[in-house]
């Protein structure tokens, strides 16, 4: 977790235009000098703040400040003069109003979803036998979630530092929320077992009960994550370029989510419980 925070602080996240606003143009051309041509055109217009990157299959990806519709037309006209086979594959522009909106909504979504999960777990486990508290179950699950999300975000920051397509956009938030869902799935399964075993042997040491519960659910946790990761890997290797970052984020998150539900969530409940309060 500490490593992740350091990674986020050092590398920063590669924010997509969803969050910072801007324009991304992707075009295809067989012109060998296209990078130089586009660069020189952009230089006239912007001193900096733009990016030209070559993609596969004769494509070029441009990142610019927000373009208006007219500016876009003018730009394309200028480029077409020198690159006759300019073929715009995609064009995406997000004004500052939308990007602010999105950032706020994403944060709101994560907070609301966390509250929803804590409340639901506290409710679902309300019948947990006495010395254990259902709210501690809920809060521990959320700590496990924070652990997963932090590690995932850290990994995304590191990968984003080296790979251009690892961007933080609306899909990234979706990925985080999915990871959250899976992490809660895993945690609930372990909790459920813990509760059952605790009711069965109320006098057994809680640490032992926890260990048993984790072991009993181990096969399920690993098998489930395996199947999901199988699907994700096939999406990652064969699916479209535009969801690659999304799928990779999910793979990392689900991997650590499984680990955390096995080693983190239940452990926190035990620690918390043992601590004299």
């Amino acid at each position: 977790m500490v490593l992740s925070i350091v990674a986020i602080a050092v590398f920063g996240l590669r924010l997509g235009i969803d969050y910072k606003g801007g324009t991304v143009i992707e075009f295809k051309s067989t012109n060998p000098d296209k990078v130089a041509i586009v660069n020189s055109i952009l230089k006239d217009q912007y001193s900096s703040g733009y990016q030209v990157k070559e993609g596969g299959n004769n494509t070029i990806v441009l990142r610019l400040p927000v373009l208006t519709a007219e500016e876009h037309v003018q730009f394309v006209q200028k480029v077409k003069v020198e690159i006759s086979d300019y073929n715009e594959v995609s064009y995406d522009t997000v004004g500052p109003t939308i990007s602010n909106d999105l950032t706020n909504k994403s944060i709101l979504a994560v907070i609301l979803a966390s509250i929803g999960i804590i409340t639901y777990i506290a409710y679902a486990f309300r019948k947990v036998p006495r010395p254990l508290s259902s709210w501690k179950f809920g809060a521990s699950a959320v700590i496990a979630i924070i652990h997963d999300l932090l590690i995932t975000t850290g990994a995304v920051a590191v990968i984003g530092h080296f790979v251009p397509w690892m961007e933080v956009d609306a899909l990234f938030v979706t990925a985080l929320l999915t990871i959250m869902g899976f992490s809660v799935h895993d945690t609930i399964v372990v909790y459920d077992r813990l509760r059952e075993n605790f009711i069965k042997n109320p006098h057994q040491d809680i640490e032992l009960t926890t260990e048993e519960s984790v072991n009993q659910t181990l096969a399920r946790s690993i098998n489930t994550s395996m199947t999901v990761i199988i699907v994700l890997l096939s999406l990652f290797l064969l699916g479209g370029q535009s969801v690659k970052h999304f799928v990779l984020t999910l793979i990392i998150g689900i991997f650590f989510g499984t680990y955390s539900s096995i080693f983190v969530a239940a452990a926190i409940v035990v620690r918390w419980h043992k601590k004299p309060s």
Partner: protein
């Protein structure tokens, strides 16, 4: 018990049959009518996001609806097939134009803010200006014009009607009738009174659409504009006037174009990835859980078909993010089966009979399955309502629908089929 199982089984078959008829595109029933909706990122096209400036607006909801319908009119004139226009938040309008080619042209036509004003005749000395024709900018109307305080805001509507001329030999002539609101009626009455036998110009974007001559003072706020050459011209005038009623300027704040080839590639790739993923999962399940795995895979196929049918029915627009949600819900559906099978193994290890192990395995695993899936559904609902933007919303919707269906298939379908086999002579086949 046995009979109930067969009833459930029959129910599953009926649901499945209905779903199959919906999913197969050429099925005689609804398959043809109910089309799958594909998002722009899969078919290619343009998404435009407009923000309306509602600072001057009195009735914001009405103005937004007006704006949306004006956009719709303008888009219909462009001849784009199946556009979607939706309002988002309090002041945004999202327009999706699948498969459009000339985007910049479209943007110009859609986004124009029409300012409709009524002008009276004036002289150049009194500050009047010369104006050209709306349809033919090269033609300059004779005379000079001065703005009045009557504008499109006071207009309630314009319609094309036909008036038979007094001369029975002449055909009935298309005219445009206009109606003002209360404030407009008074202003128009004053205007017509002061300008008898003079022209009043209807001006859009500083160009004259029409300049009828006032025949009489009009006090009831209703007037007809004659002189249209044909029905087409009258229609054009009426729609210009209707558009001009819109006082709300809108700004283009976001745009996304996806080339058709990119979209098709994405669709093809996700389909391939999905199928490969399914095959891999199926092999894993069968290898690990033997015949029970086969039943789970069958349940998964039933699941996929029912979910697809629901996506068509609701309808859910499938986007890349939506497909990702669907694929994840497959993972969650399988998770339910894994939970149940692991539990069955444990029950069998305790020395229970097959029937009892199946029943108990399902019962015991159900709390976990229920709790985990309900928490995911809660997350989906929160996502759906907070993150108003396209991809996140699509993802939450497909995932949510998928989870609900998976609760049905992974539990009911698998359980019924397993118990039916366990109660039959073929029970020796069951392995977990």
């Amino acid at each position: 018990m046995h009979r109930n199982l067969w009833i459930t089984f029959g129910f599953i078959i009926i649901v499945l049959a209905l779903a199959v008829m919906l999913v197969i595109p050429k099925s005689p029933l609804w398959g043809q009518k109910v089309k799958a909706l594909l998002g722009l990122d899969l078919v290619g096209g343009t998404e435009l996001i407009y923000q309306a400036d509602l600072t001057q607006s009195i009735d914001k909801i009405k103005d937004m609806n007006n704006l949306a319908s004006v956009f719709r009119n303008r888009i219909d004139q462009l001849g784009v097939s199946e556009p979607t226009i939706s309002t988002s938040g309090s002041d945004k309008i999202i327009i999706e134009l699948p498969g459009i080619k000339n985007i910049d042209d479209a943007i110009n036509k859609i986004g124009e803010t029409y300012e409709l004003v009524f002008m009276e005749e004036s002289t150049s000395d009194a500050g009047g200006v010369a104006l050209s024709d709306y349809y033919d900018p090269a033609y300059q109307y004779p005379g000079f014009w001065k703005a009045t305080d009557l504008s499109g805001r006071q207009l309630k509507g314009a319609d094309i009607t036909f008036s038979g001329g007094n001369d029975s030999a002449s055909k009935s002539e298309p005219v445009v009738s206009i109606k003002f609101d209360n404030a407009g009626t008074q202003k128009f009455a004053t205007l017509t009174k002061n300008n008898l036998q003079k022209r009043i110009a209807i001006v859009l974007d500083n160009k004259i659409v029409s300049a009828p001559t006032v025949q009489t003072e009009i006090t009831n706020g209703e007037a007809v504009i004659t002189g249209s050459k044909d029905v087409k011209e009258a229609q054009k005038l009426a729609s210009r006037l209707n558009e001009g009623m819109l006082p709300v300027p809108a700004k283009l704040i976001g745009q996304q174009n996806v080339g058709a080839t990119l979209g098709q590639d994405s669709l093809k790739n996700s389909m391939i990835a999905g199928i490969v993923g399914l095959v891999l999962i199926a092999s894993f399940m069968i290898a690990y859980y033997k015949t029970s795995g086969v039943v789970a895979v069958l349940a998964l196929i039933v699941y996929s078909i029912i979910t697809m049918a629901l996506y068509k029915l609701i309808p859910v627009t499938l986007t890349l993010a939506g497909i990702a949600g669907f694929v994840l819900s497959i993972g969650m559906a399988i998770d339910a089966n894994i939970l149940i099978f692991e539990r069955m193994r444990e029950e069998l290890a305790l020395g229970k009979t097959l029937n009892l192990a199946i029943a108990d395995g399902f019962k015991r695993a159900f709390t976990s399955v229920k709790d985990s899936n309900l928490s995911s559904i809660i997350t989906c609902i929160i996502l759906y309502y907070t993150a108003g933007s396209g991809p996140v919303r699509g993802f939450a919707l497909t995932l949510g629908v998928g989870i609900i269906v998976s609760l049905f298939t992974a539990i009911t379908v698998t359980r019924t089929v397993l118990l039916l086999i366990a109660n039959s002579r073929a029970k020796g086949l069951i392995h977990v």
